[in-house]
Symmetry: C2
Subunit: 361 residues, 2 copies
């Protein structure tokens, strides 16, 4: 059978050695063997988030971690500044609204990033703002945001910065502690090379002061319930054992390569993809392209959805655009288990498909 | 290597064919191939729950489904009757309290079950009760509750019945529609033969009227978000793809055997275990033993925790007692992928271990 290339920004392909690790007979989660695995996972996750704070692991989709970052830090009626530059920024706003948090939206054109001055302006107009919510990589537009500069604005304020790093973590540069990020969300099915099903929140000291005053109701996603067990490798509810065991393997691979080298490899792959696309005459959609995923503009005269379908028939799955970008972009992930060879093969097929669609390449 | 026998009431061993199915290269969740798998899963789950209502699948531990059953049906200040006969009954009460729901506890001795007359008494004293929460199998005491009779009390009331069937589903007799249960929770790591990581809520028509008036905040676990996509095989957030694909295999095995035969096999295995234990001179802890898991009393003079440790060394993992039952019982699961041969082998080791501990067997 011909290899199928899964090039979507989640799920990403799972390396064979991780699949094999997860295929071993399952073990119980309250055994020393499993607790030791989790302790190792927790230490390695800190290396990926670049933090000395605890990273809490939830059995959930990434959206679960996004919700956890809201319900654990805020109270009803609190004000939150929310960057809306794509589908995932909108999701943070929807979660806040579902819990009665007042949203000050910072709406930016899709494919651009929020300028620190704009965030600063919002914070000055709404000095009561308790938290700023933004993405590291806004997956829907393949755009990396300037988290570092925006985190700098929080240093002299009580406001916390919550970053959805779900698709960016491990691919785009991210330094939780040195930049001063307070809550960072992650997910398993991106650069961490696992199936979906695990989500993470790394929580800073400053965020913990907010957690203690937070009055929004929570139970399953309650940070404190996880945090009091995390050092023992334990969790309040039965965890997703096989995924956590796979995660240990994935994190071993990443820390063996070195987190910085891992990030550099993503950067190099992203540059390779962007340069290949430019060579094909395709425009890059985002003004600030992420190193996790690239959005190529579909050329005039080509039907984007049809292009994705024809690539599927050739054994390559790319993601299309969402909402307002439907049919207008194709998104090519270059993270986690996607190798340079995979990228070359998949982009070769893209070239073929474009030719067939008689685009001017 | 000698086989290790995992005999805990979750996780349970995963049959080889399910492991192999989950070890295939991952596919994207918004492809016709995956959506078709989910549609099949949804139909088969209805057969297991014995319902014509939709069964919603969450990426979560069982506790996530328990929380979903609270936050989707109630409002702050609503009254709920909660049966507390073990650790999981207590959990329902804690979830209700976390969301500002008034709890009318029905506390029963551990190892017994709530009598319908007691529930009826509570409903008469608190006619404003919006929901009754109870277990099918209270895993911590290995006790099956009389859901059928208690469901009968709801027929002429507006009150709904929410049943945590997480450990009982597929093992203990359960008929959602014909008994009149309104919300039934399930989990993947019990008789469904999967790793933990998926949770389910089946939701009746009567429950949907409560869902529409419910004002408790929710987002990740919002029934309506799932229900509007369920017929397409889609889900609001990236699902736990590999577990869902494994679930299709598991449900195919169960429906091929026939759900009723599957339940009967659990009953026969449970009877075999209870009779073997009696033969060893061990008492059965519960007055109403479940067909999913059996709790044996640890004989006088034997240290329960030490017994579990010595069995572990012999390659058998049993669960001990929780909270007030710590050291006093051992719990032996007989569900899902645990075969009669596994039970014979594991109970043989128990006999050996008891002899070594010089118990009078």
């Amino acid at each position: 059978m011909e290899k199928h290339y899964l090039m979507t920004p989640g799920p990403t392909p799972i390396p064979e050695e991780i699949i094999k690790t997860m295929a071993r007979p399952i073990i119980h989660h309250r055994t020393p063997q499993y607790l030791d695995i989790v302790k190792k996972v927790n230490e390695d996750l800190k290396k990926v988030f670049k933090t000395s704070c605890n990273v809490l692991t939830f059995t959930a989709s990434g959206t679960g971690a996004m919700e956890a970052s809201v319900v654990n830090t805020l109270c009803q009626g609190d004000t939150a500044v929310v960057v809306r530059g794509g589908k995932f920024g909108e999701r943070f706003a929807e979660i806040c609204q579902a819990y009665g948090v007042k949203v000050v939206p910072v709406d930016i054109d899709w494919g651009t990033r929020p300028e620190p001055s704009v965030i600063e302006g919002a914070l000055k107009r709404y000095p009561e703002t308790k938290a700023v919510f933004m993405q590291l990589c806004e997956t829907s537009t393949a755009t990396v945001y300037d988290v570092k500069s925006i985190a700098g604005l929080m240093r002299e304020r009580e406001t916390i910065l919550v970053v959805d790093a779900i698709s960016g973590l491990g691919a785009d540069e991210f330094e939780m502690d040195s930049w001063g990020v307070d809550v960072a969300c992650g997910g398993s099915q991106k650069s961490l090379m696992l199936p979906p099903g695990l989500a993470f929140c790394a929580v800073s000291k400053k965020a913990w002061t907010m957690v203690r005053r937070s009055k929004l109701p929570k139970f399953y996603l309650d940070f404190e319930k996880y945090d009091q067990l995390v050092d023992k490798g334990d969790s309040p509810w039965t965890p997703s054992i096989t995924l956590v065991i796979g995660l240990q393997r994935a994190l071993s691979m990443i820390t063996q390569e070195g987190v910085d080298n891992f990030i550099k490899r993503h950067k190099a792959d992203a540059e390779f993809v962007r340069s290949f696309l430019k060579g094909l005459g395709l425009g890059i959609y985002s003004k600030f392209p992420s190193d996790a995923v690239t959005a190529a503009k579909v050329p005039h005269g080509v039907d984007g959805s049809e292009l994705i379908r024809s690539l599927k028939a050739k054994g390559v799955t790319f993601a299309g655009g969402q909402s307002q970008l439907k049919g207008k972009i194709i998104r090519i992930a270059h993270m986690g288990g996607i190798t340079r060879e995979d990228l070359k093969a998949a982009l070769g097929k893209l070239k073929e498909a474009l030719k067939e669609q008689k685009a001017k390449v």
